[in-house]
């Protein structure tokens, strides 16, 4: 029975992952041995030998290194430094202003950066010391930034959404548009958490406004021009049709380089660092993608996804029951895996099922990226928390940051609930295109 082979394959995959074989190599090993078992060695070589080349030589995927480069340059050259000041100046009379300002700044940074780790790192370095000085508990301050960083992968550009779009064969731009809504929704609910906390627990989030007489709102707003200019270049060109979503990454990277140079912020060390991080991230991501593409072929041959699909339609799971399964699945995976591994291991199984169930793949892309981002702040492996721990190590331990994240996790669950109950909220913007 080939379905059984599929089940053994999935089991073997988890064994290999558990003994710390890199995700990409585990996927490749299972697929290769699985196809060999089913068809013999020669057909297996024939089917899989071209996958590394054919998967990577993708035009859409070329946006991944470009958007990464743009974000890393913006981060290391400090193009986004003005965002936090501007948000502080505008919000200074609001209770919990500093924390809300840092969440807003995360959202602004997200528009030029596709990665939640870079967003968390950039804001953590800037905002955590200031919040602690203003009387916030270090746990709450670091938790707010760790959570705020996840907005980086929700508001476009988003590396996770590009990769999803490639695998689901859907329009990346449409997933991006849905990402705008869920990103803003997340930022609003996080701000509500801050407001409630400063009201209920003034000891951990002081409600008093920022005492900043020297903060001139107009002056502070002029300092966000580098980010605004970059956004106008990338999204203006994108939506006016001067260049495609794929090309927007390259234009954005050149734009970030040019702006940083014009601001005299560009040094060789920054350039080198941005390139190294882009290369590490792209190469480690693409090889997982190669593994996932092989795994998709293997699962296709076993008929396992069809069988699971049959079980699900046979069980007549309602939409809400199916969603409950999906949410729990990703929350559990997110506790242990980084988002790309979790995404690429699950999509080969889930996409055919969702297609059969008639679920909108644009909407699902937005939901799944949100669920994966929740995994960035859940213990024991919460990468955003580790990053904050790295950039603000003198303020809080990993355990304290995880504790500070809890109220924001509750807000995340509310966002997920809204998205599931009212899919049309997410699909409104994509439907305009």
């Amino acid at each position: 029975m080939s379905v059984e082979t599929g089940i053994y394959g999935v089991a073997l995959l988890f064994v290999l992952l558990a003994i710390r074989i890199p995700v990409a190599l585990a996927l490749i090993a299972v697929s290769f041995s699985g196809v060999t078992f089913l068809l013999g060695i020669t057909p297996a070589v024939g089917i899989l030998s071209n996958t590394p080349f054919s998967f990577v030589s993708s035009w859409t995927l070329s946006a991944v290194p470009m958007f990464l480069l743009m974000g890393f340059i913006a981060y290391h050259a400090g193009l986004t430094g003005g965002l936090f000041d501007a948000a502080k100046a505008v919000l200074r009379r609001v209770p919990g202003a500093l924390a809300i300002a840092s969440i807003l700044a995360c959202s602004g940074f997200a528009a030029v950066c596709g990665s939640s780790l870079a967003t968390a790192a950039a804001m953590g370095r800037m905002a955590v010391p200031e919040m602690v000085r203003a009387g916030y508990s270090p746990s709450f301050a670091t938790g707010a930034i760790a959570a705020g960083g996840t907005i980086g992968a929700l508001i476009p550009p988003s590396i996770l959404m590009i990769v999803y779009g490639v695998f689901a064969e859907t329009s990346v731009i449409k997933v991006f548009l849905g990402g705008i809504t869920i990103g803003i929704l997340t930022a609003i609910l996080y701000s509500v958490v801050v407001l409630l906390t400063s009201w209920l627990r003034p000891d951990i989030a002081p409600p008093r406004p920022i005492d900043a007489e020297n903060l001139n709102a107009r002056e502070a707003l002029t300092k966000i021009w580098p980010v605004l200019l970059l956004m106008v270049i990338v999204f203006g060109g994108l939506f006016s049709g001067i260049f495609t979503a794929t090309e927007a990454g390259a234009v954005g990277a050149v734009g970030a380089l040019a702006i940083a140079t014009a601001m005299r912020r560009m040094t060789f060390a920054i350039f080198r660092q941005a390139l190294i991080e882009t290369l590490t991230t792209s190469a480690s991501l693409f090889i997982i993608g190669v593994g996932a593409a092989m795994f998709t072929r293997f699962l296709g041959l076993t008929g396992l996804t069809g069988a699971i699909s049959g079980v699900i339609s046979g069980a007549e799971l309602s939409y809400y029951e199916l969603m409950l399964v999906v949410v729990v699945l990703y929350l559990v995976l997110g506790m242990f895996m980084e988002p790309f591994g979790a995404l690429l291991i699950t999509l080969p199984v889930l996409l055919p099922i969702f297609q059969a169930e008639g679920i909108d793949l644009i909407w699902f892309g937005v939901l799944v990226v949100k669920l994966l981002e929740i995994g960035m702040i859940t213990p024991p492996v919460g990468l955003n928390v580790f990053v904050i721990r790295n950039v603000a190590s003198e303020y809080a331990t990993v355990a304290q940051i995880f504790k500070g994240v809890i109220p924001f996790l509750l807000a995340d669950l509310v966002v997920v609930l809204i998205v599931i109950l009212a899919p049309s909220i997410i699909l409104f913007l994509p439907s305009l295109l």
């Binding site: 990409a24 260049f243 390139l275 895996m337």
Partner: protein
């Protein structure tokens, strides 16, 4: 011994430099295409073909060995906390052994595929321009073979892996 390590690390850095060069070439090539297409209605010929077949393949596969050395490969770190130093060392060697087998198999399989494209002189047509793509097919086996040599040395000389977050991507 010291000298061998230095040579190895320099060669691995060279791989990263090739990957970085591919990233920059990708950026400049697409940018030039966008600018020329929109200004003088004259796109850079074969942009799509060169980006997908050369830059992307180079930046994905050439740096693999460097990635293995710098701890950039992503793995699941669930059992890390439960490992003592000795089991940890053994587990590192086991991971290195299995990785070497997988990389070698990949190198062999993709090399066979690249030989086929070499024999047939595979190319793609961009308008009236024939772009040979067969040389690019040798990049994956090259990258896998180099990665295999790095993991092979790790079976005998495991080194301290960086902390969990080092393997994080985005």
């Amino acid at each position: 011994m010291e000298l061998i390590f230095r040579i190895r690390d320099m060669s691995l850095t060279a791989l990263a430099v090739i990957g970085a060069a591919a990233i920059l070439a990708l950026m400049l090539h697409i940018m030039a295409d966008v600018v020329l297409r929109n200004s003088i209605n004259q796109p850079v010929p074969a942009t799509y073909e060169i980006v997908t077949n050369y830059y992307m393949v180079a930046l994905a596969f050439v740096p693999l060995a460097w990635l293995e050395r710098t701890g950039g490969m992503v793995s699941v770190e669930v059992i890390n906390g439960f490992l003592g130093p000795r089991t940890r060392d053994l587990s590192d060697r086991l991971v290195a052994l299995i990785s070497t087998v997988i990389y070698s198999a990949l190198a062999w399989v993709t090399f066979e595929a690249s030989l086929k494209t070499f024999v047939s002189g595979t190319f793609v047509m961009a308008q009236s321009l024939a772009i040979p793509t067969w040389p690019a097919y040798f990049l994956p086996p090259l990258g896998f073979a180099l990665a295999a040599t790095v993991t092979l040395t790790r079976i005998f000389l495991p080194y301290q892996q960086k902390a969990a977050e080092a393997g994080a991507i985005t």
